[in-house]
Subunit: 151 residues, 2 copies
């Protein structure tokens, strides 16, 4: 994404692969304790009674870790990023376990100038998150707002 600063710099079909997030047991439990204290996110014993089998990260933790990798990858883009109105079709495809190492692949599917606000537009992307075995653990379609290039 080097040199990408404005909506006009984003090309449909452009792909990126980035990130390396080591999932630790300590962080899985810390996040779940605060935000998603379901038993299978907190103890191996409880998780063994579910399809998780052993302690697994909250799906919201996976979203949060993914966001961190995306922000770290933004670089110049961050200057023109204006947040997001939302994400679609969020799917947790496989459990994320302590010890996993996550990475991200993105592909831009649509670039759309705003109809109502001439100075901004939206970038639609498909985001996929993989573990160290290249198994997809999460997919989602993101919408990001960006500034348009000043005249």
């Amino acid at each position: 994404m080097g040199g990408v600063r404005y909506l006009e710099d984003v090309e449909v079909g452009s792909k990126a692969s980035f990130g390396r997030y080591e999932v630790t047991r300590e962080e899985v439990i810390e996040f779940a304790s605060k935000y998603d204290p379901q038993p299978f996110h907190l103890s191996d014993e409880a998780a063994a009674k579910t399809h998780f089998g052993r302690i697994a990260a909250s799906g919201w933790h996976t979203c949060a870790m993914t966001m961190r990798m995306m922000v770290d990858n933004m670089g110049e883009l961050g200057r023109s990023g204006m947040g997001s109105p939302g994400w679609d079709e969020l799917r947790w495809l496989r459990p994320v376990y302590p010890g996993d190492v996550l990475r991200v692949e993105t592909e831009v599917t649509e670039v759309r100038p705003s109809r109502s606000k001439p100075e901004i537009g939206s970038v639609h992307s498909t985001i996929r998150v993989f573990n160290q075995d290249d198994q997809p653990v999460m997919s989602v379609k993101s919408i990001g707002l960006m500034r348009r290039r000043p005249d």
Copy 2:
């Protein structure tokens, strides 16, 4: 949701209103520092240059706070809850600011036994999150898996 333990106990159209989450500046900055370190989530000065106006919570933090209110509300339901395959149409409708107090409203829109796994099914719900001024700040359509009542 008293007495709701199995898929068969969930009625389409049933509504719930619950939760009280006080958003603190300290927690907004802590979450954003770890998972979404975009400037408008970290400092009032940077946020003043955006539509946020002042420091605002990461959308993922709002998801996480919402999840906490939902888990706290699960009660008996938690025993049969089996996690979620995903959420759809996640929308951040208004900024969430330090000092806000969030609450949740849910409505069950569909209850569907699994075709492939006779012992489980899915509950589809619309979730809306409001601030203390009863303004919607987030909406999303959730899918939750539940056990069916044993024969």
